[in-house]
Subunit: 297 residues, 2 copies
């Protein structure tokens, strides 16, 4: 398959749907809706929504059914970035080369834009307008999966432990594992599980996709840690080596660079094995995972 | 009916369920779950969840069905208070006589505790464990109603306009109406509409409950504005006259105190009229509304 063309096409579908679903800048309150849109359209690669569509396809589902939930997933990802960048959190002025939300709109609007995006995500999945013949039970299961993975037992919990570990000397491997599987891994897993549910997956398919999501999610984050060390500032769009400078808990920091690379590969192998029950319909899931782990930015 | 005994009993039901549903302080991340619980159990009167149960009862439903959504509503209300109190927003050090969340746990944890509570709310309503024979379609409709009313077209939108209006000289009535119907009114309306849906309301009942919620929600907020002027600091648990000192957009500020009192009464009358199609089963809704508008704190 032509992965580049596939990613471009799916990205365009997602962007078009996001533009349709998000409140317009011409609707009150203008400042809020402008801020919400600013960060959603600030150059994200739409990894999570594309993974959701790919998982839906892998189990033989109609990907059109997964578009609203895929957009909801991107809204949740975007809200988490807006809040993470706040002065009280990571205090970042730039993301993907653009000023962060609070630098443009101020802290108060940035907090509320994040809150608005998180709420909008659940509104979107529960909207009967976009149900597309998906059974109500499946939509509830998707809401549940996403809320568990985005909440205090998932992404939000991972961010807390990440923050509390920053600068500490004696971070151990279980802590880094907790941070990675929660802060980034959980939402990746939720994306593919939700895609499989919306695609009408059977039990065996769902278990395979879940294993894929867990392994790939961890592989992505270890690859990210490695990229922070090996990439150039130009390639990764932020200061190279910033994790180390900040005393961030990373795989290379606790086990060394070589072992971290082996671990990323082991996770990737596990993700590929999980997909063995599928045929060519899971090729997008396979190729996206390989691409993300080998990427240079 | 003995309103005091009724409120106490419902409050205990809600508090017991919240304690059951909320993540424990002994679960990772401890600091986050401690912060989430701190604000949920900081002396709230549980107005929104009790209204939800009362609306469920008014339409002849089993109130046990509405308990999870009622708790979800309180979590959303609590998250909004935590974020509103942040230094970047209203910068309040105390709420109901206790230090605000960020004063105890720091800004970062306060932001994340709010995020966690908002997410937990949607997890709770979509949890099959607590479905209690409620049809999936009804639970989806409740999620949708709450998300619309809590999001950028509802509560979050109201907070933005409230903040942007603070200290401005020329605030007009439509702006104050927008703030009140969105910032507080929307969640009150969502509470009773959700209760009615979970109680299995027919179309006519749902329309009546919606009208009640809109009118009562506005009456509550005007009463709050009046209380800020007429109450003592001791009675209302915050500095009396603080709205005026801050240049807040309120009904008394734009139309004078006497006219604001008439407007609150007119809204209350409308709320009572909306309930005329119900018998004694709507007495809790009637009495709660009267009580809240006449309260001294």
């Amino acid at each position: 398959m032509d992965l580049k063309a596939y990613l471009k096409e799916q990205c365009q579908r997602i962007d078009g749907a996001l533009d349709l679903y998000l409140p317009k800048e011409t609707e009150l309150p203008y400042s809020l809706h402008k801020a919400m849109r600013y960060s959603v359209f600030a150059g994200g690669k739409r990894v999570r929504p594309i993974l959701m569509l790919a998982a839906c396809q892998a189990v033989g589902g109609d990907t059109a059914r997964a578009i609203p939930a895929a957009c909801a997933m991107e809204m949740i990802h975007t809200y988490s970035l807006i809040h993470d960048d706040l002065p009280a959190m990571d205090n970042d002025d730039f993301r993907r080369g653009n000023p962060t939300n609070h630098k443009v709109f101020g802290e108060a609007i940035a907090i509320l834009a994040g809150d608005g995006l998180l709420t909008e995500a659940f509104k979107l999945i529960s909207d009967p307008l976009f149900a597309k013949d998906t059974p109500a039970e499946a939509r509830l299961a998707v809401i549940r999966e996403i809320a568990v993975c985005a909440g205090s037992y998932g992404m939000v919990g991972g961010q807390v432990v990440d923050m509390e570990s920053e600068g500490k000397e004696d971070i151990d491997l279980p802590t880094v594992q907790y941070i990675h599987t929660h802060k980034t891994g959980a939402l990746i897993k939720a994306a593919v599980v939700a895609g499989a549910i919306l695609g009408g997956a059977g039990e065996r398919q769902l278990a395979a996709i879940t294993r894929y999501g867990e392994a790939a999610g961890l592989a992505f984050q270890i690859a990210d840690d490695i990229l922070d060390i090996e990439g150039t500032t130009e390639e990764i769009g932020k200061d190279a080596g910033s994790d180390e400078a900040r005393g961030k808990a990373t795989y290379p920091a606790v086990m060394g660079l070589a072992a971290a690379k082996l671990e990323a590969q082991a996770m990737m192998d596990e993700a590929m094995r999980a997909l063995e029950i599928f045929g060519a319909e899971a090729d997008p899931l396979r190729e996206i995972a390989q691409y993300i782990v080998q990427r240079k930015n």
